[in-house]
């Protein structure tokens, strides 16, 4: 049987080569489908790896509390909404922070409160600057580095701020902006520190600190009628080994504080690393749809072209049967041919997907796409499944042909 498989492969190669244009066009559907899959997976994998590396760099001892029950990443129905609504009415409070601080093994806790509004200095203003209200612990938890000046601490004034290097350039035209004044929602703030450029727009805080303005939690509350609207609480455990118990302890503490209502989630490890950007999910969903549709269309294309091939070669089927081919031989012959189209399409798609991923990541993103054997396996697996699934019917049809009827066919 093995020998015959080799023979069928040779046969499929010859036959596909003799109709090269047709074969290539048929492959296109699978190519587009597999390219989409590869693109999504390599980019999301790359983004995940960025965060994983960051967390690992910090010692792998970071956990994060976010409002809402299910981790946002798996909620596909959230993709349609432009902003995560659960963030707008956060269930996390300052009291939760205090409760977490009491959990054994917790070294530091920092809230992230995002304040909406404009940042302006003179004639320069920016409306999409992330304004982060937090506590001094954030610097150690998120591994921020202050280039000039100092970070906010317990004794700094309420109207002082630390700004990202890029924001400094945007507002003042220089990254030497200590002592300069700017306005957040019309309120005056003085720059007491400028962060070192990190170039990490993707991180588990979902904040590009290069563009951010950081103020104290007290200032943040003053923008929100004195109430802390905490979008995320970052927790640092004393070391990696105590992280699981910290996560458990946090869950218990918050459960008690929230009267066992599960309106929060504690994330660590892979859950934390998965990309959370809504835009990313929108793009990924669109690409998934493209992948699914083109795989189905590609599969139907394969089926169509295989039916044509079988019809064209009816006489050949008759001859082969007359010379001793069994139904199984004929099925295998045509199945391998459709499989070859599928795998060919998959291979091209895999390569095209990575080319696209590199173009995208080099032009608009800050990280490289991820290479992994899982992605390669999935790409090839998908194309194999498409090739077999849609080639099966034509192949069986070919094998069922009556030898004498097939031999009578003239072209």
């Amino acid at each position: 049987m093995r020998l015959l498989v080799l023979n069928h492969i040779q046969n499929a190669y010859d036959s596909l080569r003799s109709t090269r244009m047709r074969t290539n066009l048929t492959m296109l559907g699978v190519t587009i489908g597999v390219a989409s899959i590869t693109l999504i997976l390599s980019l999301s994998g790359g983004a995940t790896k960025v965060i994983t590396d960051q967390v690992d760099e910090l010692g792998g001892n970071i956990a994060v509390v976010r409002p809402g029950d299910v981790p946002q990443t798996t909620r596909l129905d959230n993709i349609a909404s432009p902003m995560n609504h659960s963030y707008a009415t956060s269930s996390l409070t300052e009291r939760d922070m205090k409760a977490i601080r009491l959990v054994p093994g917790v070294e530091a806790v920092a809230p992230v409160m995002l304040v909406g509004g404009n940042v302006a200095a003179g004639n320069n203003s920016s409306s999409n600057t992330p304004i982060v209200a937090t506590t001094p612990d954030l610097i150690s938890i998120s591994n921020l580095t202050v280039k000039d000046g100092q970070f906010i601490d317990s004794v700094t004034n309420r109207d002082t701020a630390v700004i990202g290097a890029q924001l400094s350039v945007d507002l003042f035209g220089t990254d030497q902006s200590i002592g300069q004044n700017f306005k957040i929602r019309g309120q005056d703030f003085t720059v007491i520190g400028v962060l070192k450029r990190a170039n990490k727009p993707i991180n588990y805080n979902n904040i590009d600190f290069d563009h951010a303005a950081i103020v104290s939690l007290e200032s943040g509350k003053s923008f929100n009628q004195g109430v802390a609207q905490i979008q995320q609480i970052d927790i640092k455990a004393t070391d990696q080994n105590s992280l699981p118990s910290v996560v458990e302890g946090t869950k218990k503490a918050l459960g008690a504080a929230h009267k066992n209502e599960h309106d929060f989630s504690v994330l660590s490890g892979d859950d934390l690393s998965r990309p959370t950007s809504q835009l990313f999910f929108a793009v990924a969903a669109a690409m998934t749809a493209v992948a699914a549709i083109s795989l189905i269309v590609g599969g139907i294309g394969i089926m169509n072209i295989m039916l044509v091939t079988v019809a064209e070669r009816t006489r050949e089927i008759g001859i082969r049967k007359a010379l001793g081919a069994s139904n199984g031989h004929i099925t295998a012959q045509f199945l391998i041919e459709s499989l070859a189209i599928g795998i060919g399409g998959g291979l091209f798609g895999y390569i095209a997907g990575y080319l696209l991923a590199f173009i995208v990541s080099r032009s608009v993103l800050t990280f490289d796409p991820l290479f992994s054997w899982q992605i390669a396996g999935l790409a090839i697996g998908t194309s194999v499944v498409v090739g077999i699934l849609f080639g099966l019917y034509p192949a069986i049809r070919a094998s069922r042909k009556d030898p004498i009827e097939a031999l009578r066919q003239y072209h």
Partner: protein, 276 residues
């Protein structure tokens, strides 16, 4: 197939084949009874359209009869699975088609090697055997030609080479010399004789009476029936003529072959109709 070594290779009883339905229906085989023993060399003759090809197709398990029984080595072919049919075609039967039926996509040597593929023979070995077979038919320089690059006679020789390459025990040849001059015809017939001498069964359709000398038994068909049969009416003839032919064949010069080959026409092929 090893059920009964003495059983006839092929036994047909009341075999019928009809084409068309209703008013258009016509019977192409109208009750064929025929017993073929192992090692016979049968020539089937008869006017065009009398059903020779149809009969051969049924014998080669390519077609099915509408009525009657076909026993192959004592087993009814009706009872065998499609898979078994394929296996028999692969292992035991070599079929030369009237219209050659080479695969147009494949070159000459690939065409000849094709039956070996389904016996599971390795590629290099396949090509070796095919090449050897082609050599027998003086086609060595044409191995890598495509079928459409061959003359009619060359095509026919390739078709015969393909039928014989897997050393079948039953050769079904539908006018294997239809496109060949008498010299080339005799080359083919010598080859078939050789195979016959090795104990295999050969059933050949021919329109050329001179070629029936090679046969051990001549059957004439008319309108879907067996019209005359050298064996059933003169059971001893078969043995005698075979022996005679084989004996004389070796000694005789080619020139005399033509003379000798006319002889079967005069032979006592007593027609069924004549006895009425």
């Amino acid at each position: 197939m090893k059920t009964n070594p003495d059983a006839p290779v092929i036994a047909l009883r009341g075999l019928k084949k009809r084409y068309g339905i209703g008013d258009a229906e016509h019977t192409v085989l109208d009750g064929v009874d025929l017993v073929i023993e192992k090692g016979e060399f049968i020539a089937i003759m008869g006017p065009s359209g009398c059903g020779k090809t149809t009969l051969l197709n049924i014998l080669g398990l390519l077609d099915r009869a509408d009525d009657g029984d076909y026993f192959l080595a004592d087993r009814s072919v009706e009872s065998l699975s499609a898979r078994r049919h394929a296996n028999i075609r692969s292992e035991q039967i070599g079929f030369v088609f009237q219209n050659f039926n080479l695969v147009p996509r494949l070159n000459v040597i690939e065409n000849v090697a094709l039956p070996l593929t389904y016996k599971g023979i390795r590629k290099t070995k396949r090509l070796q055997l095919a090449s050897k077979m082609l050599q027998t038919f003086h086609l060595s320089e044409r191995e890598y030609y495509m079928p459409w690059q061959l003359s009619g006679g060359q095509t026919q020789r390739v078709a015969i080479a393909r039928a014989l390459v897997n050393s079948p025990s039953i050769v079904l040849a539908d006018e294997p010399t239809g496109n060949l001059d008498s010299k080339a015809s005799h080359v083919i017939m010598e080859e078939l004789s050789d195979i016959h001498k090795r104990g295999n069964t050969i059933i050949m359709v021919t329109h050329n009476p001179s070629l029936t000398t090679y046969a051990s038994r001549v059957i004439t068909m008319l309108d879907g029936k067996i019209d005359s049969d050298t064996k059933t009416l003169q059971p001893t003839v078969k043995v005698d003529t075979t022996k005679k032919r084989l004996d004389t064949h070796a000694a005789e010069a080619p020139k005399e072959k033509t003379l000798r080959s006319r002889r079967p026409a005069k032979r006592k092929t007593i027609k069924k109709g004549a006895s009425k």
